[in-house]
Subunit: 225 residues, 2 copies
Amino acid sequence: MQPVVLAVAITGSVPRKKDNPAVPVTPAEQIESTHEAFEAGASLVHIHVRNPDETPSSDPALFAQVQEGVRRHCPGMIIQFSTGGRGRDPSTRGNALELRPDMASLSTGSVNFPTIVYENPAALVVELGTKMQANRIRPEIEIFDLSHIHAARRLIDQGLMDERPHVQIVMGIRNALPAREHLLDLMLGELRRQIPNATWTAAGIGVAQSPVVDWALARNADGVR
Amino acid sequence: MQPVVLAVAITGSVPRKKDNPAVPVTPAEQIESTHEAFEAGASLVHIHVRNPDETPSSDPALFAQVQEGVRRHCPGMIIQFSTGGRGRDPSTRGNALELRPDMASLSTGSVNFPTIVYENPAALVVELGTKMQANRIRPEIEIFDLSHIHAARRLIDQGLMDERPHVQIVMGIRNALPAREHLLDLMLGELRRQIPNATWTAAGIGVAQSPVVDWALARNADGVR
Ligand SMILES: [Zn+2]
Ligand SMILES: [Zn+2]
Ligand SMILES: [Zn+2]
Ligand SMILES: [Zn+2]
């Protein structure tokens, strides 16, 4: 088997302490949770930060604290900031990019989520991509539907991203793309046609996590989460 | 060649008289434009109505005028109301369904459009589908991305639609699905897996109209627009 990058998403934007008391919410909790995952073999951390009331935050001061702590506790670990939108003011989603994390997530299209429309209008995608490029941050392209692959291709054509982005195909969110093995093949086929040099991974949400990891590994994904 | 339904979308939601003086805007203009298309062989009309300032409207009185005129001038023509969202208050998009047109369009998911996010949140889709079913209106499912096929399948599973809806795959809107022949095959493959009994058509926007009609006819579409 080829080596894969093991990524950990310690917090996300949805779960609260009342859902799971183990969810790390403060920067100190997030640093220690990342440290544990690092010792267990994870080499990439995907970071969302939270306000004191646990709602999603875009505050660069919080991102800076987690970044600094992870650098100290987990030498060499790849640090990826989320620019994801749930519960965050769109105009602030890129605020922490000036901290120059190694990577940042970039969703390239809009799609229905369980109770909301996950809005990533084209102008915002270009704005975030421009900021990542200016700060030499490697994007992880988040793909929730077929057209999002073509939106990523357009970023390359516009000179905002190189020909070898890292791409994550996300499945199993209610009202978005279901977690089905043939859909992963279909999405991968289109990814290879449009962006043949992309590295890739796939993520399943909730109960879909474990099967999607299996499907991704069986197809030689470059990473799993 | 098998017979196909020739559909005409006389007005749409975007063009204004300043873009093209021939765009029919008043109910009288819309009725006459439909009549001309009917005489040229069209058997289905897709109707958007406009306010006096040409902006999109949801006013049932306007829909009623066009419906009544088309019935009188074009006997037997299939009348389809748009419930599409551009420029319309989401809460009013279904207001004209009580007029019981033969068909109504129903977009089952959200996607990026040229300058906006075309928002069709899941709850609104269910609300419109419920209203169509209550008024015995046949939906034309508008598909702008892959996940929208699965959203249509869920309406069937929820009992809001029968197993044989009419489906239109829309391509060539900037920031949504590009007009590419292999993408039509990919979408049709998934449509047949999820809703094998659906009738279907494909529509290309702008310069994509003519090639998409050709691709659709080559694949035995049930209609073209
Ligand atoms: Zn995330
Ligand atoms: Zn530690
Ligand atoms: Zn329309
Ligand atoms: Zn007439």
